[in-house]
Symmetry: C2
Subunit: 278 residues, 2 copies
């Protein structure tokens, strides 16, 4: 009975509720200026943009509106990356067979230059930690915000093109260009798990974190830190340390595997759309 947009909002809420998600704000952990309640307000604020995506509005327009609403709290960037993954999946749920790798690929491959413009405008609503742009892309640094839009139009770059240029350093861009493999894999893990949904999502997070270095950690710190966190997650999976200990260590070090949490939100959404009960 929940709508697609409501499932997306609930996915954001269940993502931050899932505990422990080492390094991220979760039910048991806050960062100093970025706390649990900011994620609550971010999820509620994003709801109108999510409804626009579910109603068939262009992906870029819906994404910008979702980010604008999300940013209406004092914590800063709570769910930018999660929304970048959720918005096309929400749009894909309009397809006859619902949200699938195929319908999601259709959505992202159909994005336009105007969708790219919406993506750039979204950066004007909130500070997002980003790397320098790839070679030859200086004019398209996302930190230019709307000022980059004339260049997008000159070069006729769609939102898919923009994200395709970042696949080397951005795990969410990789989802966009490869049919969202880790999002769907996470949905399957959550669906096949036992116990309360947040516990299943927390286990899926740890498996994701152990499987590949988190690209947000690589951006905010460096590649070596991202690899260390991945290795530490593997140690947790081998039972050599507890997830709670890793959580305390990462919070203390200010290391936040945000991309991995974004993928859990995407997986939760797909699972809810396919009938997961809460």
């Amino acid at each position: 009975m929940r709508t697609t947009a409501e499932n997306a909002e609930l996915a954001l809420l269940l993502d931050v509720t899932s505990t422990p998600k080492p390094g991220n704000v979760d039910r048991a952990h806050d960062h100093e200026d970025l706390r649990f309640e900011h994620f609550m307000a971010g999820a509620v604020g994003a709801s109108e943009g999510l409804r626009m995506a579910a109603a068939g509005e262009p992906v870029g327009t819906a994404f910008e509106r979702a980010v604008e609403g999300m940013a209406n709290q004092r914590g800063g960037n709570t769910q930018f990356g999660a929304l970048l993954t959720l918005v096309p999946l929400v749009a894909a749920a309009r397809a006859e067979g619902g949200v699938t790798p195929e319908s999601a690929a259709n959505v992202v491959e159909s994005t336009t230059v105007e969708d790219a413009a919406g993506f750039y405008r979204a950066f004007e609503h909130v500070d997002v930690a980003v790397d320098d742009p790839p070679d030859g892309m200086d004019a398209l640094d996302v930190r230019h915000g709307a000022d980059a839009i004339p260049t997008l139009r000159d070069r006729e770059l769609t939102l898919y093109d923009v994200l395709a240029a970042s696949v080397e350093r951005d795990g969410l861009a990789r989802e966009w260009v490869s049919r969202f493999p880790r999002s769907f894999e996470t949905a399957e893990r959550i669906e096949s798990g036992d116990g309360p949904v947040p516990d299943r999502a927390a286990r899926a997070y740890l498996e994701l974190l152990a499987s590949e270095p988190d690209t947000f950690v690589a951006t905010a710190h460096d590649e070596a830190t991202a690899r260390e966190v991945c290795e530490a997650a593997r140690a947790v999976r081998r039972g050599e340390t507890s997830p709670e200990t890793l959580a305390d260590q990462l919070v203390a070090a200010g290391v936040n595997p945000g991309t991995t949490a974004d993928l859990v939100a995407a997986g939760l959404f797909v699972a809810l759309e396919r009938g997961l009960d809460v």
Copy 2:
């Protein structure tokens, strides 16, 4: 920038996030079959009914829709009482001066027999712990659900009339018939507090709990238990015991001061409408 309906939904989320709220599910406490994630799903599910109230749909219709959506999770009754308080306050926010004791009184005093019918239908969506009806009201036992509607019509009882018959035993009915004094008082406490909003709301909860016996505890247990809980909250306020200890005791005893939590949700909503930042 949040809409009135979004503020109401956020109030539900911040209410359950506020910790410790001794005896209730909060960020640090679950009951065995009623957990934090059920409140997340309940808040998201209620959003359409809250939007209906904000759009001027009749209170009874909006309330029934909110409860129906809230009930779409496995925990059972999460926010029935909170919605009974929030829906008229949301409707009152449409008035020129926003939500005030006066605009709220206008809303509840203008309710109709059809609003009462919506209230009775809402009981068909979820099990709510209730007392036996007052003398002469057997035909209007809420447990009859929609079967009581012909009697409501025969006696021409509005939703205000129905709640006015329960003021002796129901702290939320008292809000309805007396301009929501504790809801507005709680808003003022939260607004004038310091620190993160959930911390302020948890303090407001404890003050409310210490001020009057919780009527939900009186219904689910008895008057003596409700008085004991009130006395225990006073001991916490005097510093004789910690709120965490009281929380553990009440969870262990299965005592849930739900009406007090509902009033915190109402207070959070009023504060958000008046500009409280999160």
